[in-house]
Point group: C2
Chain length 315, copies 2
Protein backbone atom coordinates (compact mmCIF):
# COMPACT_ATOMS: atom_id res chain seq x y z
CA UNK A 1 0.00 0.00 0.00
CA UNK A 2 1.40 3.37 -1.07
CA UNK A 3 0.56 5.88 1.68
CA UNK A 4 0.72 9.65 1.45
CA UNK A 5 3.89 9.45 3.55
CA UNK A 6 5.43 7.18 0.94
CA UNK A 7 4.62 9.75 -1.72
CA UNK A 8 5.97 12.59 0.44
CA UNK A 9 9.17 10.63 1.06
CA UNK A 10 9.50 10.01 -2.67
CA UNK A 11 9.12 13.71 -3.35
CA UNK A 12 11.75 14.64 -0.76
CA UNK A 13 14.08 12.02 -2.21
CA UNK A 14 13.84 13.08 -5.85
CA UNK A 15 13.38 16.83 -5.36
CA UNK A 16 17.08 17.74 -5.69
CA UNK A 17 17.25 15.94 -9.05
CA UNK A 18 14.07 17.10 -10.79
CA UNK A 19 12.45 20.31 -12.00
CA UNK A 20 9.35 21.58 -10.26
CA UNK A 21 7.77 22.00 -13.65
CA UNK A 22 5.67 24.96 -14.74
CA UNK A 23 1.88 24.91 -14.84
CA UNK A 24 0.48 26.70 -17.88
CA UNK A 25 -2.98 27.88 -18.82
CA UNK A 26 -4.35 28.99 -22.17
CA UNK A 27 -7.42 31.11 -22.76
CA UNK A 28 -8.13 29.83 -26.26
CA UNK A 29 -8.05 26.21 -25.16
CA UNK A 30 -10.20 27.02 -22.12
CA UNK A 31 -12.73 28.63 -24.46
CA UNK A 32 -12.62 25.60 -26.74
CA UNK A 33 -13.09 23.20 -23.82
CA UNK A 34 -15.61 25.30 -21.92
CA UNK A 35 -13.57 24.57 -18.79
CA UNK A 36 -10.62 25.94 -16.86
CA UNK A 37 -7.59 23.79 -17.63
CA UNK A 38 -4.28 23.72 -15.73
CA UNK A 39 -1.51 21.94 -17.62
CA UNK A 40 1.29 20.42 -15.52
CA UNK A 41 4.21 20.58 -17.98
CA UNK A 42 6.19 17.39 -17.48
CA UNK A 43 7.45 17.83 -21.02
CA UNK A 44 9.80 20.32 -19.32
CA UNK A 45 10.93 17.65 -16.82
CA UNK A 46 14.43 16.15 -16.86
CA UNK A 47 14.70 13.72 -19.82
CA UNK A 48 11.64 15.46 -21.27
CA UNK A 49 9.04 13.37 -19.43
CA UNK A 50 7.54 12.57 -16.01
CA UNK A 51 9.26 9.17 -16.10
CA UNK A 52 12.32 10.81 -14.53
CA UNK A 53 10.35 10.93 -11.27
CA UNK A 54 9.61 7.22 -10.96
CA UNK A 55 12.98 6.16 -12.27
CA UNK A 56 14.76 8.36 -9.76
CA UNK A 57 12.66 7.28 -6.82
CA UNK A 58 13.46 3.63 -7.50
CA UNK A 59 17.12 4.06 -8.41
CA UNK A 60 17.94 6.36 -5.50
CA UNK A 61 16.57 3.73 -3.10
CA UNK A 62 18.47 0.91 -4.80
CA UNK A 63 21.65 2.93 -4.31
CA UNK A 64 20.88 4.07 -0.75
CA UNK A 65 19.94 0.57 0.40
CA UNK A 66 22.85 -0.97 -1.50
CA UNK A 67 20.43 -3.38 -3.16
CA UNK A 68 22.70 -3.70 -6.14
CA UNK A 69 25.55 -2.09 -8.01
CA UNK A 70 23.88 -1.72 -11.41
CA UNK A 71 20.45 -1.03 -12.90
CA UNK A 72 18.58 -2.49 -15.82
CA UNK A 73 15.26 -2.18 -17.60
CA UNK A 74 13.72 -2.76 -20.99
CA UNK A 75 12.02 0.08 -22.77
CA UNK A 76 11.91 1.70 -26.15
CA UNK A 77 10.79 5.00 -24.74
CA UNK A 78 11.03 7.50 -21.95
CA UNK A 79 11.55 4.96 -19.15
CA UNK A 80 14.80 3.88 -20.79
CA UNK A 81 16.09 7.43 -20.53
CA UNK A 82 14.72 7.77 -17.00
CA UNK A 83 16.68 4.78 -15.68
CA UNK A 84 19.82 5.79 -17.56
CA UNK A 85 19.52 9.34 -16.19
CA UNK A 86 18.81 8.19 -12.62
CA UNK A 87 21.69 5.69 -12.68
CA UNK A 88 24.07 8.44 -13.70
CA UNK A 89 22.81 10.56 -10.78
CA UNK A 90 23.90 7.84 -8.33
CA UNK A 91 27.00 6.83 -10.24
CA UNK A 92 25.91 3.27 -11.02
CA UNK A 93 26.09 1.58 -14.42
CA UNK A 94 22.82 1.00 -16.30
CA UNK A 95 22.09 -1.65 -18.91
CA UNK A 96 19.07 -0.78 -21.04
CA UNK A 97 17.54 -3.46 -23.23
CA UNK A 98 15.99 -1.76 -26.27
CA UNK A 99 14.30 -3.27 -29.33
CA UNK A 100 16.55 -2.87 -32.37
CA UNK A 101 13.64 -1.04 -34.04
CA UNK A 102 13.68 1.77 -31.45
CA UNK A 103 14.45 5.18 -32.99
CA UNK A 104 18.17 5.91 -33.19
CA UNK A 105 17.56 9.24 -31.44
CA UNK A 106 16.23 7.40 -28.36
CA UNK A 107 19.19 5.01 -28.29
CA UNK A 108 21.52 7.97 -28.52
CA UNK A 109 19.76 9.72 -25.66
CA UNK A 110 20.27 6.65 -23.46
CA UNK A 111 23.91 6.40 -24.52
CA UNK A 112 24.21 10.12 -23.80
CA UNK A 113 23.42 9.42 -20.14
CA UNK A 114 26.31 6.96 -20.08
CA UNK A 115 24.22 3.78 -20.08
CA UNK A 116 24.93 0.65 -22.12
CA UNK A 117 22.31 -0.24 -24.74
CA UNK A 118 21.63 -3.94 -25.39
CA UNK A 119 19.65 -4.43 -28.58
CA UNK A 120 17.09 -7.19 -28.92
CA UNK A 121 14.29 -8.29 -31.21
CA UNK A 122 11.16 -6.12 -30.88
CA UNK A 123 9.08 -8.60 -28.87
CA UNK A 124 8.21 -8.68 -25.19
CA UNK A 125 9.77 -12.15 -24.88
CA UNK A 126 13.06 -10.96 -26.35
CA UNK A 127 13.06 -7.87 -24.14
CA UNK A 128 12.46 -9.88 -20.98
CA UNK A 129 15.07 -12.44 -22.01
CA UNK A 130 17.51 -9.59 -22.59
CA UNK A 131 16.92 -8.26 -19.09
CA UNK A 132 17.32 -11.75 -17.56
CA UNK A 133 20.64 -12.13 -19.35
CA UNK A 134 21.80 -8.73 -18.07
CA UNK A 135 20.82 -9.60 -14.49
CA UNK A 136 22.66 -12.93 -14.71
CA UNK A 137 25.77 -11.31 -16.14
CA UNK A 138 25.92 -8.14 -14.01
CA UNK A 139 23.67 -8.60 -10.98
CA UNK A 140 21.79 -5.48 -12.05
CA UNK A 141 18.52 -4.57 -10.32
CA UNK A 142 15.45 -4.33 -12.57
CA UNK A 143 13.44 -1.12 -12.47
CA UNK A 144 10.08 -1.97 -14.02
CA UNK A 145 8.42 0.92 -15.90
CA UNK A 146 5.19 0.77 -13.86
CA UNK A 147 4.69 -2.49 -11.91
CA UNK A 148 6.69 -1.20 -8.94
CA UNK A 149 5.49 0.74 -5.89
CA UNK A 150 8.58 2.93 -5.88
CA UNK A 151 8.04 3.92 -9.49
CA UNK A 152 4.35 4.62 -8.85
CA UNK A 153 5.18 6.75 -5.79
CA UNK A 154 7.64 8.75 -7.91
CA UNK A 155 5.10 9.35 -10.67
CA UNK A 156 2.62 10.42 -7.97
CA UNK A 157 4.70 13.51 -7.24
CA UNK A 158 3.66 15.29 -10.46
CA UNK A 159 0.03 15.52 -9.32
CA UNK A 160 1.26 16.42 -5.81
CA UNK A 161 3.03 19.50 -7.16
CA UNK A 162 0.03 20.44 -9.29
CA UNK A 163 -2.33 20.22 -6.32
CA UNK A 164 0.08 22.08 -4.03
CA UNK A 165 0.56 24.88 -6.55
CA UNK A 166 -2.96 25.30 -7.99
CA UNK A 167 -5.41 23.15 -6.06
CA UNK A 168 -5.28 24.53 -2.52
CA UNK A 169 -7.73 27.41 -2.26
CA UNK A 170 -10.12 25.98 -4.81
CA UNK A 171 -9.71 22.23 -5.37
CA UNK A 172 -9.69 20.79 -8.86
CA UNK A 173 -13.00 19.26 -9.91
CA UNK A 174 -11.16 16.65 -11.93
CA UNK A 175 -7.63 15.48 -12.61
CA UNK A 176 -6.87 13.88 -15.99
CA UNK A 177 -3.91 11.68 -16.92
CA UNK A 178 -3.24 9.22 -19.73
CA UNK A 179 -3.04 5.50 -19.12
CA UNK A 180 -0.62 2.98 -20.61
CA UNK A 181 0.76 0.55 -18.02
CA UNK A 182 -0.91 2.65 -15.36
CA UNK A 183 2.06 3.88 -13.34
CA UNK A 184 1.32 7.56 -13.78
CA UNK A 185 -2.43 7.07 -13.49
CA UNK A 186 -2.06 5.04 -10.28
CA UNK A 187 0.23 7.63 -8.75
CA UNK A 188 -1.99 10.50 -9.82
CA UNK A 189 -5.07 8.76 -8.42
CA UNK A 190 -3.42 8.04 -5.08
CA UNK A 191 -2.08 11.58 -4.65
CA UNK A 192 -5.45 13.05 -5.55
CA UNK A 193 -7.26 10.68 -3.20
CA UNK A 194 -5.02 11.75 -0.30
CA UNK A 195 -4.55 15.46 -0.97
CA UNK A 196 -7.70 16.49 -2.81
CA UNK A 197 -10.38 13.95 -1.96
CA UNK A 198 -13.24 15.88 -3.59
CA UNK A 199 -11.44 15.74 -6.95
CA UNK A 200 -12.38 12.90 -9.29
CA UNK A 201 -9.72 11.27 -11.46
CA UNK A 202 -10.33 10.49 -15.12
CA UNK A 203 -8.00 8.78 -17.59
CA UNK A 204 -7.57 9.17 -21.33
CA UNK A 205 -6.66 6.12 -23.41
CA UNK A 206 -6.10 5.63 -27.15
CA UNK A 207 -8.78 3.62 -28.94
CA UNK A 208 -5.92 1.77 -30.57
CA UNK A 209 -4.57 0.45 -27.24
CA UNK A 210 -7.79 0.20 -25.27
CA UNK A 211 -6.90 -2.41 -22.69
CA UNK A 212 -7.26 -0.28 -19.55
CA UNK A 213 -10.88 0.63 -20.19
CA UNK A 214 -11.73 -3.08 -20.59
CA UNK A 215 -9.79 -4.05 -17.47
CA UNK A 216 -11.35 -1.20 -15.54
CA UNK A 217 -14.82 -2.54 -16.33
CA UNK A 218 -14.18 -6.28 -15.96
CA UNK A 219 -11.85 -6.12 -12.97
CA UNK A 220 -9.39 -8.44 -14.76
CA UNK A 221 -6.23 -7.47 -16.60
CA UNK A 222 -7.43 -7.55 -20.21
CA UNK A 223 -5.56 -7.20 -23.47
CA UNK A 224 -6.43 -4.51 -25.99
CA UNK A 225 -8.55 -5.78 -28.91
CA UNK A 226 -5.86 -4.39 -31.22
CA UNK A 227 -2.76 -2.22 -30.91
CA UNK A 228 -2.48 0.56 -33.45
CA UNK A 229 -2.02 4.11 -32.26
CA UNK A 230 0.25 7.10 -32.69
CA UNK A 231 0.44 7.31 -28.87
CA UNK A 232 3.50 5.05 -28.67
CA UNK A 233 3.92 5.60 -24.95
CA UNK A 234 0.54 4.10 -24.10
CA UNK A 235 0.63 0.68 -25.75
CA UNK A 236 1.39 -1.28 -22.59
CA UNK A 237 -1.12 -3.33 -20.61
CA UNK A 238 -2.01 -2.68 -16.95
CA UNK A 239 -0.63 -4.92 -14.21
CA UNK A 240 -2.64 -6.36 -11.30
CA UNK A 241 -1.00 -3.74 -9.11
CA UNK A 242 -1.95 -0.73 -11.22
CA UNK A 243 -5.40 -2.11 -12.04
CA UNK A 244 -6.32 -2.45 -8.36
CA UNK A 245 -5.29 1.14 -7.60
CA UNK A 246 -7.11 2.40 -10.69
CA UNK A 247 -10.28 0.48 -9.83
CA UNK A 248 -10.22 1.97 -6.34
CA UNK A 249 -9.52 5.60 -7.17
CA UNK A 250 -10.32 6.40 -10.82
CA UNK A 251 -13.82 7.49 -11.89
CA UNK A 252 -13.68 6.77 -15.59
CA UNK A 253 -11.48 6.00 -18.58
CA UNK A 254 -12.32 7.81 -21.84
CA UNK A 255 -10.96 6.60 -25.17
CA UNK A 256 -9.96 8.80 -28.09
CA UNK A 257 -9.03 8.18 -31.72
CA UNK A 258 -5.68 8.97 -33.29
CA UNK A 259 -7.29 11.84 -35.23
CA UNK A 260 -8.50 13.32 -31.95
CA UNK A 261 -5.05 12.85 -30.41
CA UNK A 262 -3.33 14.58 -33.34
CA UNK A 263 -5.82 17.47 -33.28
CA UNK A 264 -5.28 18.00 -29.55
CA UNK A 265 -1.50 17.79 -30.00
CA UNK A 266 -1.60 20.36 -32.76
CA UNK A 267 -3.81 22.66 -30.70
CA UNK A 268 -1.27 22.62 -27.86
CA UNK A 269 1.66 23.22 -30.22
CA UNK A 270 -0.10 26.10 -31.98
CA UNK A 271 -1.70 27.85 -29.06
CA UNK A 272 0.51 27.04 -26.07
CA UNK A 273 3.78 27.04 -28.07
CA UNK A 274 5.03 23.96 -26.31
CA UNK A 275 6.07 20.61 -27.71
CA UNK A 276 4.20 17.56 -26.50
CA UNK A 277 4.35 14.01 -27.79
CA UNK A 278 1.25 12.21 -29.08
CA UNK A 279 0.73 10.18 -25.88
CA UNK A 280 0.76 13.45 -23.97
CA UNK A 281 -2.17 14.85 -25.94
CA UNK A 282 -4.55 12.05 -24.97
CA UNK A 283 -6.04 13.68 -21.83
CA UNK A 284 -6.80 16.95 -23.63
CA UNK A 285 -8.29 14.99 -26.52
CA UNK A 286 -10.57 13.26 -24.01
CA UNK A 287 -11.62 16.56 -22.42
CA UNK A 288 -12.38 18.11 -25.82
CA UNK A 289 -14.33 15.02 -26.88
CA UNK A 290 -16.60 15.04 -23.82
CA UNK A 291 -17.33 18.70 -23.09
CA UNK A 292 -20.45 17.75 -21.12
CA UNK A 293 -18.33 15.95 -18.52
CA UNK A 294 -16.04 18.93 -17.90
CA UNK A 295 -18.22 21.99 -18.58
CA UNK A 296 -17.39 24.90 -16.26
CA UNK A 297 -15.02 22.76 -14.19
CA UNK A 298 -11.50 23.26 -12.92
CA UNK A 299 -9.43 20.58 -14.58
CA UNK A 300 -5.84 19.50 -13.88
CA UNK A 301 -4.10 17.82 -16.80
CA UNK A 302 -0.75 16.05 -16.57
CA UNK A 303 1.20 16.78 -19.77
CA UNK A 304 3.44 13.76 -19.71
CA UNK A 305 6.26 14.39 -22.15
CA UNK A 306 7.71 16.14 -25.16
CA UNK A 307 10.00 13.62 -26.81
CA UNK A 308 9.03 13.60 -30.46
CA UNK A 309 11.01 13.00 -33.62
CA UNK A 310 10.78 16.37 -35.37
CA UNK A 311 11.45 14.63 -38.66
CA UNK A 312 8.27 12.54 -38.35
CA UNK A 313 5.45 14.86 -37.33
CA UNK A 314 1.81 13.90 -37.99
CA UNK A 315 1.05 17.33 -39.43
Amino acid sequence: MISIDTIRDAHDRIRPHIHRTAVLTNQTINDRAGAELFFKCENFQKIGAFKARGGLNAVLQVAQNKEGTALTTHSSGNHAQAVAFAARQVGLPAYIVMPRTAPQVKKEAVLGYGAEVIECEPTLDAREAGVREVIQRTGAVLVHPFDDDRVIAGQATAAKELIEDYGQEQPFDVMVAPVGGGGLLSGTALTTHYLSPTTRVVAGEPEGAADAVLSFRSGQVEKAPYIKTIADGLMTTLSERTLSIIRAHVSDILTVSDDEIIAAMRLVWERMKIIIEPSCAVPLAAVLKHPDQFAGQKVGIILTGGNVDLGKLPF
Copy 2:
Protein backbone atom coordinates in the same frame (compact mmCIF):
# COMPACT_ATOMS: atom_id res chain seq x y z
CA MET B 1 13.82 60.50 -24.98
CA ILE B 2 12.39 57.36 -23.39
CA SER B 3 13.12 57.51 -19.65
CA ILE B 4 12.88 54.69 -17.14
CA ASP B 5 9.68 56.31 -15.90
CA THR B 6 8.24 56.07 -19.41
CA ILE B 7 9.06 52.37 -19.42
CA ARG B 8 7.60 51.89 -15.93
CA ASP B 9 4.43 53.70 -16.98
CA ALA B 10 4.21 51.49 -20.06
CA HIS B 11 4.54 48.41 -17.91
CA ASP B 12 1.82 49.56 -15.49
CA ARG B 13 -0.41 50.38 -18.45
CA ILE B 14 -0.12 47.06 -20.25
CA ARG B 15 0.27 44.75 -17.23
CA PRO B 16 -3.45 43.86 -16.94
CA HIS B 17 -3.49 42.76 -20.59
CA ILE B 18 -0.29 40.72 -20.89
CA HIS B 19 1.30 37.61 -19.42
CA ARG B 20 4.32 37.95 -17.20
CA THR B 21 6.01 35.26 -19.25
CA ALA B 22 8.07 32.41 -17.83
CA VAL B 23 11.86 32.39 -17.83
CA LEU B 24 13.31 28.98 -18.67
CA THR B 25 16.79 27.51 -18.39
CA ASN B 26 18.22 24.37 -19.92
CA GLN B 27 21.28 22.46 -18.74
CA THR B 28 22.09 20.90 -22.10
CA ILE B 29 22.04 24.23 -23.91
CA ASN B 30 24.09 25.82 -21.13
CA ASP B 31 26.68 23.05 -21.55
CA ARG B 32 26.66 23.57 -25.30
CA ALA B 33 27.09 27.33 -24.94
CA GLY B 34 29.52 27.21 -22.04
CA ALA B 35 27.43 29.92 -20.41
CA GLU B 36 24.40 30.30 -18.16
CA LEU B 37 21.42 31.25 -20.32
CA PHE B 38 18.06 32.62 -19.13
CA PHE B 39 15.38 32.54 -21.80
CA LYS B 40 12.53 35.06 -21.49
CA CYS B 41 9.69 33.21 -23.18
CA GLU B 42 7.74 35.80 -25.15
CA ASN B 43 6.56 32.96 -27.37
CA PHE B 44 4.13 32.41 -24.47
CA GLN B 45 2.99 36.05 -24.65
CA LYS B 46 -0.49 37.05 -25.84
CA ILE B 47 -0.66 36.69 -29.67
CA GLY B 48 2.44 34.43 -29.34
CA ALA B 49 5.01 37.25 -29.48
CA PHE B 50 6.45 40.24 -27.57
CA LYS B 51 4.79 42.56 -30.10
CA ALA B 52 1.67 42.52 -27.95
CA ARG B 53 3.55 44.75 -25.48
CA GLY B 54 4.36 47.60 -27.86
CA GLY B 55 1.05 47.39 -29.66
CA LEU B 56 -0.84 47.60 -26.39
CA ASN B 57 1.21 50.47 -25.01
CA ALA B 58 0.50 52.55 -28.11
CA VAL B 59 -3.14 51.59 -28.56
CA LEU B 60 -4.08 52.03 -24.90
CA GLN B 61 -2.72 55.58 -25.04
CA VAL B 62 -4.50 56.36 -28.30
CA ALA B 63 -7.74 55.29 -26.63
CA GLN B 64 -7.08 57.01 -23.29
CA ASN B 65 -6.08 60.29 -24.93
CA LYS B 66 -8.91 60.05 -27.45
CA GLU B 67 -6.41 60.56 -30.27
CA GLY B 68 -8.59 58.66 -32.66
CA THR B 69 -11.43 56.20 -32.93
CA ALA B 70 -9.69 53.54 -35.01
CA LEU B 71 -6.25 51.99 -35.45
CA THR B 72 -4.25 50.95 -38.49
CA THR B 73 -0.89 49.49 -39.40
CA HIS B 74 0.74 47.51 -42.15
CA SER B 75 2.43 44.24 -41.33
CA SER B 76 2.61 40.70 -42.56
CA GLY B 77 3.60 39.36 -39.19
CA ASN B 78 3.20 39.57 -35.46
CA HIS B 79 2.68 43.35 -35.31
CA ALA B 80 -0.50 42.95 -37.34
CA GLN B 81 -1.87 40.63 -34.68
CA ALA B 82 -0.60 42.90 -31.91
CA VAL B 83 -2.53 45.93 -33.16
CA ALA B 84 -5.64 43.88 -33.87
CA PHE B 85 -5.46 42.35 -30.39
CA ALA B 86 -4.82 45.69 -28.67
CA ALA B 87 -7.64 47.40 -30.58
CA ARG B 88 -10.04 44.72 -29.41
CA GLN B 89 -8.92 45.31 -25.81
CA VAL B 90 -10.00 48.96 -26.06
CA GLY B 91 -13.04 48.30 -28.23
CA LEU B 92 -11.85 50.27 -31.27
CA PRO B 93 -11.90 49.06 -34.88
CA ALA B 94 -8.56 48.15 -36.50
CA TYR B 95 -7.70 48.18 -40.20
CA ILE B 96 -4.65 46.05 -40.96
CA VAL B 97 -2.97 46.39 -44.35
CA MET B 98 -1.39 43.05 -45.23
CA PRO B 99 0.42 41.94 -48.40
CA ARG B 100 -1.75 39.51 -50.34
CA THR B 101 1.17 37.03 -50.10
CA ALA B 102 0.99 36.90 -46.28
CA PRO B 103 0.17 33.40 -44.98
CA GLN B 104 -3.55 32.72 -44.74
CA VAL B 105 -3.09 31.62 -41.12
CA LYS B 106 -1.80 35.10 -40.21
CA LYS B 107 -4.68 36.82 -41.97
CA GLU B 108 -7.08 34.56 -40.11
CA ALA B 109 -5.44 35.36 -36.79
CA VAL B 110 -5.95 39.09 -37.44
CA LEU B 111 -9.55 38.49 -38.49
CA GLY B 112 -9.97 36.39 -35.36
CA TYR B 113 -9.25 39.48 -33.25
CA GLY B 114 -12.08 41.25 -35.04
CA ALA B 115 -9.93 43.49 -37.24
CA GLU B 116 -10.49 44.26 -40.91
CA VAL B 117 -7.77 43.04 -43.30
CA ILE B 118 -6.98 45.17 -46.36
CA GLU B 119 -4.91 43.27 -48.87
CA CYS B 120 -2.26 45.02 -50.98
CA GLU B 121 0.63 44.16 -53.27
CA PRO B 122 3.68 42.89 -51.37
CA THR B 123 5.77 46.05 -51.65
CA LEU B 124 6.54 48.72 -49.08
CA ASP B 125 5.05 51.38 -51.38
CA ALA B 126 1.78 49.50 -51.68
CA ARG B 127 1.63 48.90 -47.95
CA GLU B 128 2.19 52.55 -47.12
CA ALA B 129 -0.33 53.61 -49.77
CA GLY B 130 -2.82 51.18 -48.25
CA VAL B 131 -2.38 52.74 -44.82
CA ARG B 132 -2.75 56.30 -46.23
CA GLU B 133 -5.98 55.26 -47.87
CA VAL B 134 -7.26 53.77 -44.60
CA ILE B 135 -6.37 56.91 -42.68
CA GLN B 136 -8.12 59.12 -45.24
CA ARG B 137 -11.21 56.95 -45.23
CA THR B 138 -11.50 56.22 -41.48
CA GLY B 139 -9.32 58.70 -39.58
CA ALA B 140 -7.50 55.74 -38.06
CA VAL B 141 -4.29 56.33 -36.08
CA LEU B 142 -1.19 54.58 -37.39
CA VAL B 143 0.74 52.38 -34.96
CA HIS B 144 4.15 51.91 -36.57
CA PRO B 145 5.80 48.55 -35.80
CA PHE B 146 8.97 50.11 -34.37
CA ASP B 147 9.49 53.79 -35.28
CA ASP B 148 7.39 54.97 -32.33
CA ASP B 149 8.48 55.74 -28.76
CA ARG B 150 5.33 54.22 -27.31
CA VAL B 151 5.95 50.96 -29.13
CA ILE B 152 9.61 50.93 -28.07
CA ALA B 153 8.66 51.61 -24.43
CA GLY B 154 6.23 48.70 -24.59
CA GLN B 155 8.81 46.29 -26.02
CA ALA B 156 11.21 47.48 -23.28
CA THR B 157 9.04 45.79 -20.64
CA ALA B 158 10.14 42.28 -21.61
CA ALA B 159 13.74 42.94 -20.54
CA LYS B 160 12.39 44.78 -17.48
CA GLU B 161 10.61 41.64 -16.30
CA LEU B 162 13.64 39.48 -17.04
CA ILE B 163 15.94 41.75 -15.03
CA GLU B 164 13.43 42.05 -12.17
CA ASP B 165 12.96 38.29 -11.98
CA TYR B 166 16.51 36.99 -12.58
CA GLY B 167 18.97 39.88 -12.67
CA GLN B 168 18.71 41.42 -9.20
CA GLU B 169 21.11 39.59 -6.90
CA GLN B 170 23.59 38.82 -9.63
CA PRO B 171 23.26 41.05 -12.70
CA PHE B 172 23.35 39.60 -16.19
CA ASP B 173 26.72 39.95 -17.92
CA VAL B 174 24.97 40.35 -21.23
CA MET B 175 21.47 40.66 -22.66
CA VAL B 176 20.83 39.40 -26.20
CA ALA B 177 17.93 40.28 -28.49
CA PRO B 178 17.37 40.01 -32.24
CA VAL B 179 17.23 43.07 -34.47
CA GLY B 180 14.88 43.78 -37.38
CA GLY B 181 13.50 47.33 -37.31
CA GLY B 182 15.08 47.74 -33.89
CA GLY B 183 12.02 48.29 -31.70
CA LEU B 184 12.71 45.39 -29.37
CA LEU B 185 16.45 45.95 -29.39
CA SER B 186 16.05 49.66 -28.58
CA GLY B 187 13.67 48.92 -25.74
CA THR B 188 15.86 46.13 -24.39
CA ALA B 189 18.94 48.36 -24.54
CA LEU B 190 17.21 51.23 -22.74
CA THR B 191 15.81 49.04 -19.97
CA THR B 192 19.17 47.37 -19.46
CA HIS B 193 20.95 50.72 -19.43
CA TYR B 194 18.63 52.01 -16.72
CA LEU B 195 18.11 48.92 -14.57
CA SER B 196 21.29 46.89 -15.02
CA PRO B 197 24.00 49.31 -16.15
CA THR B 198 26.85 46.81 -15.86
CA THR B 199 25.15 44.51 -18.37
CA ARG B 200 26.18 44.86 -22.00
CA VAL B 201 23.60 44.46 -24.76
CA VAL B 202 24.33 42.41 -27.88
CA ALA B 203 22.09 41.87 -30.90
CA GLY B 204 21.76 38.97 -33.28
CA GLU B 205 20.94 39.62 -36.93
CA PRO B 206 20.47 37.30 -39.93
CA GLU B 207 23.24 37.45 -42.54
CA GLY B 208 20.44 37.59 -45.09
CA ALA B 209 19.05 40.90 -43.72
CA ALA B 210 22.23 42.47 -42.41
CA ASP B 211 21.32 46.15 -42.46
CA ALA B 212 21.58 46.87 -38.74
CA VAL B 213 25.19 45.78 -38.42
CA LEU B 214 26.12 48.13 -41.30
CA SER B 215 24.12 51.03 -39.87
CA PHE B 216 25.57 50.37 -36.42
CA ARG B 217 29.08 50.77 -37.80
CA SER B 218 28.51 53.67 -40.20
CA GLY B 219 26.10 55.67 -38.07
CA GLN B 220 23.75 56.05 -41.06
CA VAL B 221 20.61 54.04 -41.78
CA GLU B 222 21.90 51.54 -44.34
CA LYS B 223 20.10 48.97 -46.46
CA ALA B 224 20.98 45.28 -46.30
CA PRO B 225 23.19 44.12 -49.19
CA TYR B 226 20.53 41.49 -49.91
CA ILE B 227 17.38 40.16 -48.26
CA LYS B 228 17.11 36.40 -48.09
CA THR B 229 16.55 34.72 -44.75
CA ILE B 230 14.24 32.31 -42.99
CA ALA B 231 13.95 34.87 -40.17
CA ASP B 232 10.94 36.59 -41.71
CA GLY B 233 10.39 38.85 -38.71
CA LEU B 234 13.78 40.52 -39.08
CA MET B 235 13.81 41.76 -42.67
CA THR B 236 13.02 45.38 -41.85
CA THR B 237 15.52 48.25 -41.83
CA LEU B 238 16.31 50.39 -38.77
CA SER B 239 14.90 53.91 -38.46
CA GLU B 240 16.86 56.99 -37.37
CA ARG B 241 15.12 56.68 -34.01
CA THR B 242 16.06 53.07 -33.34
CA LEU B 243 19.56 53.48 -34.78
CA SER B 244 20.39 56.33 -32.41
CA ILE B 245 19.28 54.33 -29.36
CA ILE B 246 21.14 51.26 -30.57
CA ARG B 247 24.35 53.22 -31.26
CA ALA B 248 24.16 54.65 -27.75
CA HIS B 249 23.41 51.52 -25.76
CA VAL B 250 24.29 48.37 -27.74
CA SER B 251 27.79 46.84 -27.62
CA ASP B 252 27.76 44.73 -30.74
CA ILE B 253 25.64 43.13 -33.46
CA LEU B 254 26.52 39.55 -34.46
CA THR B 255 25.28 38.05 -37.71
CA VAL B 256 24.29 34.42 -38.23
CA SER B 257 23.47 32.28 -41.26
CA ASP B 258 20.15 30.59 -41.92
CA ASP B 259 21.75 27.21 -41.21
CA GLU B 260 22.85 28.48 -37.82
CA ILE B 261 19.38 29.89 -37.15
CA ILE B 262 17.70 26.60 -38.04
CA ALA B 263 20.14 24.61 -35.88
CA ALA B 264 19.50 26.89 -32.88
CA MET B 265 15.74 26.72 -33.47
CA ARG B 266 15.86 22.93 -33.59
CA LEU B 267 17.99 22.79 -30.45
CA VAL B 268 15.38 24.81 -28.54
CA TRP B 269 12.50 22.69 -29.85
CA GLU B 270 14.27 19.42 -29.01
CA ARG B 271 15.79 20.28 -25.66
CA MET B 272 13.50 22.96 -24.20
CA LYS B 273 10.28 21.50 -25.67
CA ILE B 274 9.01 24.92 -26.66
CA ILE B 275 8.06 26.28 -30.06
CA ILE B 276 9.95 29.29 -31.32
CA GLU B 277 9.88 30.87 -34.75
CA PRO B 278 13.05 31.25 -36.85
CA SER B 279 13.53 34.97 -36.02
CA CYS B 280 13.38 34.00 -32.36
CA ALA B 281 16.36 31.64 -32.66
CA VAL B 282 18.75 34.31 -33.90
CA PRO B 283 20.14 35.40 -30.48
CA LEU B 284 20.89 31.83 -29.41
CA ALA B 285 22.49 31.16 -32.79
CA ALA B 286 24.73 34.20 -32.19
CA VAL B 287 25.68 32.98 -28.69
CA LEU B 288 26.51 29.49 -29.95
CA LYS B 289 28.54 30.92 -32.85
CA HIS B 290 30.73 33.09 -30.61
CA PRO B 291 31.39 31.03 -27.47
CA ASP B 292 34.47 33.13 -26.68
CA GLN B 293 32.32 36.21 -26.17
CA PHE B 294 29.97 34.55 -23.70
CA ALA B 295 32.11 31.92 -21.93
CA GLY B 296 31.17 31.52 -18.29
CA GLN B 297 28.78 34.47 -18.40
CA LYS B 298 25.21 34.98 -17.25
CA VAL B 299 23.24 35.69 -20.39
CA GLY B 300 19.65 36.92 -20.76
CA ILE B 301 18.00 36.04 -24.06
CA ILE B 302 14.68 37.42 -25.25
CA LEU B 303 12.80 34.63 -27.06
CA THR B 304 10.60 36.79 -29.22
CA GLY B 305 7.84 34.61 -30.55
CA GLY B 306 6.44 31.23 -31.49
CA ASN B 307 4.23 31.81 -34.49
CA VAL B 308 5.27 29.24 -37.06
CA ASP B 309 3.39 27.40 -39.76
CA LEU B 310 3.61 23.79 -38.58
CA GLY B 311 3.06 22.69 -42.16
CA LYS B 312 6.26 24.40 -43.35
CA LEU B 313 9.02 23.52 -40.91
CA PRO B 314 12.67 23.74 -41.96
CA PHE B 315 13.43 20.31 -40.52
